[in-house]
């Protein structure tokens, strides 16, 4: 970032920036929403996400199972079933986060493409 002392070069620069921005926007629109783009620190962010995901899924599911048991008097089945469902849900969430499908519930992509595949294609 430099101090502009001349006005005309700045205006010229602004015009060029606007032009480039428009071209970029058009390109962006043509490609649709970017999937799995990587802003700064996203590796750390991903690590922070998946670490908690599995643990909390199991804890919350088991807790829900325990609550169901208390409510319906079905000890210990609710807790057992929900414990394993929690493991499954946690793993599914971790897999989705890593595969670049975000945290989307359901296996579909909004635009019907395979996000994980797109991402690998981009990186090659």
């Amino acid at each position: 970032m430099t101090d502009g002392d001349a006005k005309d070069p700045l205006r010229e620069l602004q015009r060029r920036i606007d032009g480039a921005q428009r071209a970029l926007d058009a390109q962006e629109r043509a490609r649709g929403p970017r999937q799995g783009a990587k802003p700064m620190g996203s590796g750390l962010a991903l690590a922070s996400r998946i670490a908690i995901e599995l643990v909390v899924a199991i804890l919350v599911a088991t807790g829900l199972g325990w609550a169901f048991d208390r409510w319906l008097g079905t000890q210990p089945w609710g807790m057992v079933v929900m414990f394993f469902l929690g493991i499954a849900a946690g793993m599914v969430n971790v897999w989705r986060a890593v595969a670049g499908m975000g945290m989307a519930v359901g296996y579909r992509q909004p635009d019907g493409t395979d996000a994980a595949k797109d991402r690998w294609d981009d990186e090659d």
């Binding site: 502009g4 602004q14 649709g32 929403p33 783009a37 919350v60 849900a89 945290m103 909004p110 019907g112």
Partner: protein
């Protein structure tokens, strides 16, 4: 001589202005004070920073524009088309959590994001909001979110509960991640500071570690605000783009 180390004392809620309407404790606490400061600072940054908008931005305008563009890019990238309508919400959320985390790192202040009830309230707002948006946009069709496409009916018995569970776990993971990171970081800082006070002569070592952890905590503060905001965007994408 022994020095008592109380690493958890920093999370104590203190009532500044006691206020008990109808027997409900709605006192103005140190937590609420820090939230007020965070909200005022964010507003001041955006309003004052862009007051004299110049082509070549000054310092504050730069900060305001950078944060705006950072969040705008995040929303556009992750929430997809139509996601920009929710930009004000995501921006407020991101800046509020970021300021909360960073203000907590100021010595003698208080970290309101280290309380699970605060982060859970934020996460529950996101969760309920996204669910309402989903139903408003798609009606009952939103429920197909829980039914994976092209799966045999027998497997649906197993998969639908898993999908439901992973949907309802969202507010918990969202809130616990932020809360646990803040709590752990600040506790660790206080414990090493306590070591420094209780170890004669070699106290310089824990102080050195504390300095290193402090920098790590600055990174974590920004990172957790970012994770919270980006997950909000991803949840929004789910609700907006069902098909």
């Amino acid at each position: 001589m022994t020095i008592e180390i109380k690493p958890l004392e920093q999370f104590q809620i203190e009532r500044i202005v006691p206020f008990h309407p109808f027997g409900i404790d709605a006192s103005y606490t140190n937590s609420a004070l820090l939230m007020t400061i965070a909200a005022v600072l964010v507003t001041a940054l955006v309003v004052l920073g862009t007051r004299r908008a110049a082509l070549v931005p000054g310092r504050w305008q730069s900060v305001a524009e950078m944060s705006y563009e950072f969040v705008a890019d995040m929303v556009e990238t992750n929430a997809g088309h139509g996601g920009m309508a929710y930009f004000p919400f995501v921006f407020s959320l991101f800046m509020f959590i970021l300021l909360g985390n960073l203000l907590g790192l100021v010595p003698y202040s208080f970290t309101f994001t280290s309380h699970i009830i605060v982060t859970f309230a934020l996460a529950a707002t996101v969760f309920i909001g996204v669910t309402i948006i989903g139903f408003a946009k798609h009606g009952a069709h939103f429920l197909t979110l829980f039914v994976p496409a092209g799966v045999p009916a027998v497997l649906l018995v197993l998969l639908v509960p898993i999908e439901l569970l992973s949907y309802f776990i969202r507010p918990f993971t969202l809130s616990i991640r932020l809360f646990a990171n803040m709590l752990a970081g600040h506790t660790m800082l206080a414990i090493f500071a306590g070591f420094a006070a209780s170890v004669p002569l070699f106290g310089i070592l824990p102080v050195g570690i504390d300095v290193a952890i402090y920098f790590l905590e600055v990174l974590v503060a920004a990172l957790q605000a970012y994770v919270f905001a980006i997950l909000t965007c991803l949840y929004l994408r789910d609700a907006l783009h069902l098909h």
